[in-house]
């Protein structure tokens, strides 16, 4: 097969000319510059992503099929016991919700007494995962709700137990989420016990984020819960993020090296909640 037709003879194939490689170099360098510097071509990107969405869905079907298959195979007994467990959990959660009603109304009354404005109410949108990027240095997922469903750039994403990340690129039918463990991600947090504020930075490993801006004499203990502080305006206040797992004091260094384990299970995310602040204005660059 290899030596057929003109394949071997055409030494000056215009498709491979030196001019073209130079042109491609210029175009791609320009695109990289624009994309890296100021998100100038986000529009282009969001339309292009629309065209590759089928590919992403196709790539994730095998995993979904396997999961489906597993579900089919699991026998009646396990499903029944699981159902009972879920029912029990549901009842417990409902009773907790009743308490929160009471707390919420009380909170509102107290705010009125203080003549202060309570926090804005948040809107929740449920979403499913389309695809997961499991590169070592890129912790991103894609969810199946986009700007058509009213999702805004920068909205926080949580699962049932804690914060997962935030939306950093919104497309029409889907949006890309940067996880809190991505090396480029920082989330403003505070220690729930005493309100110390810090910034937690991702490490590139799914079960670790680090804090390196707390001074040596700060009051922090292992198993302290870190919650979002609401500073910076991106994440809503008071959602659980991580639990402190290791504190290391290095001689001669002014800051502690603190490791924390995210509360949400980032390795296998199934359904997520998009938390949107209603009052947030639309002026996102």
């Amino acid at each position: 097969m290899p030596f057929t037709e003109k394949n071997t003879i055409d030494r000056s194939n215009p498709n491979f000319s030196g001019l073209r490689i130079i042109l491609i170099f210029i175009i791609s360098l320009g695109m990289m510059y624009l994309d890296f510097q100021g998100n100038y071509i986000n529009k282009l990107r969001s339309y292009l992503s629309l065209t590759v969405l089928p590919l992403q869905i196709a790539a994730n079907t095998p995993k979904k099929l396997i999961n489906n298959f597993k579900n089919r195979l699991s026998d009646r007994e396990t499903i029944l016991t699981e159902n009972q467990q879920l029912k029990k959990e549901n009842i417990q959660l409902r009773s907790k919700v009743q308490q929160t009603y009471k707390l919420e109304s009380e909170n509102k009354r107290l705010f009125e007494l203080l003549k202060a404005k309570p926090d804005d109410e948040e809107k929740f949108i449920f979403a499913d995962i389309i695809s997961i990027n499991q590169d070592n240095n890129k912790h991103q997922i894609i969810i199946n709700k986009g700007s058509i469903d009213g999702i805004q750039l920068g909205a926080a994403i949580a699962d049932s137990s804690g914060i997962i990340g935030h939306i950093f690129r919104d497309q029409l039918l889907a949006s890309e989420v940067l996880l809190i463990t991505d090396p480029e991600h920082g989330i403003p947090i505070e220690i729930a016990r005493n309100g110390f504020r810090a910034i937690a930075i991702g490490t590139g490993s799914y079960d670790e984020i680090i804090l390196n801006d707390l001074p040596n004499n700060s009051d922090i203990q292992i198993n302290d819960v870190l919650i979002t502080s609401g500073l910076g305006g991106r994440y809503p206040e008071g959602y659980p993020v991580a639990i402190v797992s290791d504190i290391e004091m290095i001689q001669g260094e002014p800051y502690l090296k603190i490791e924390a384990r995210p509360i949400a299970n980032l390795k296998n995310i199934n359904e997520v909640l998009v938390i949107q602040n209603n009052k947030k204005d639309h002026q996102n660059e």
Binding site: N13, N15, I21, M31, D35, A59
Partner: protein
């Protein structure tokens, strides 16, 4: 003419399929299995049938790959088209190499691709050299004979029709 068209479709079918293969979610232990399929199929077409593929195809599939993988726009397209260009320059030699030498040439070409990625990542400032990446490139050159045989048989079927 229709023959040309069917060849064109074949190329893009393979390229799209390999780009899907390269984003299939794998667990962390299996991440070395992320063989650069797109680069391999581009190499095959450039070396074996350069008349039905060009640098702009490499550019386009690189762009698609960038969006699929959520990287910076233009990174893979630059790396892939440069690799394709080098492969085209040396295609006549590579084509007559014995198989082990061919695998070595493929390894070097894949390393060129990976090198470009590393450079760009380094300039952006998020360089992460992982063992699994190197292993996946090695695996990619190891399965080259199998891959080439498979694509050749597919292509001859299309040509004979």
């Amino acid at each position: 003419m229709s023959n040309q068209l069917s060849k064109f479709f074949f190329v893009w079918l393979i390229l799209i399929f390999s780009s899907i293969l390269s984003i299939i979610p794998l667990s962390e232990n299996l991440s070395f299995l992320k063989i650069p399929w797109v680069a391999l199929s581009l190499l095959f077409f450039t070396i074996m049938t350069p008349s039905i593929i060009g640098l702009f195809s490499a550019f386009l599939i690189g762009l698609i790959l960038d969006i699929l993988q959520g990287g910076i726009l233009g990174e893979s397209s630059l790396a892939l088209s440069f690799m394709t260009y080098v492969a085209y320059r040396f295609r006549l030699q590579i084509r007559v190499f014995p198989i082990w030498q061919m695998m070595f040439a493929v390894l070097i070409l894949l390393l060129i691709n990976e090198m470009m990625h590393l450079w760009i990542d380094g300039i952006i400032g998020k360089i992460v050299i992982s063992q699994s990446k190197i292993i996946s490139v090695l695996l990619g050159s190891l399965i080259w004979p199998l891959f080439m045989g498979l694509l050749e048989s597919l292509q001859s079927k299309i040509n004979s029709r």
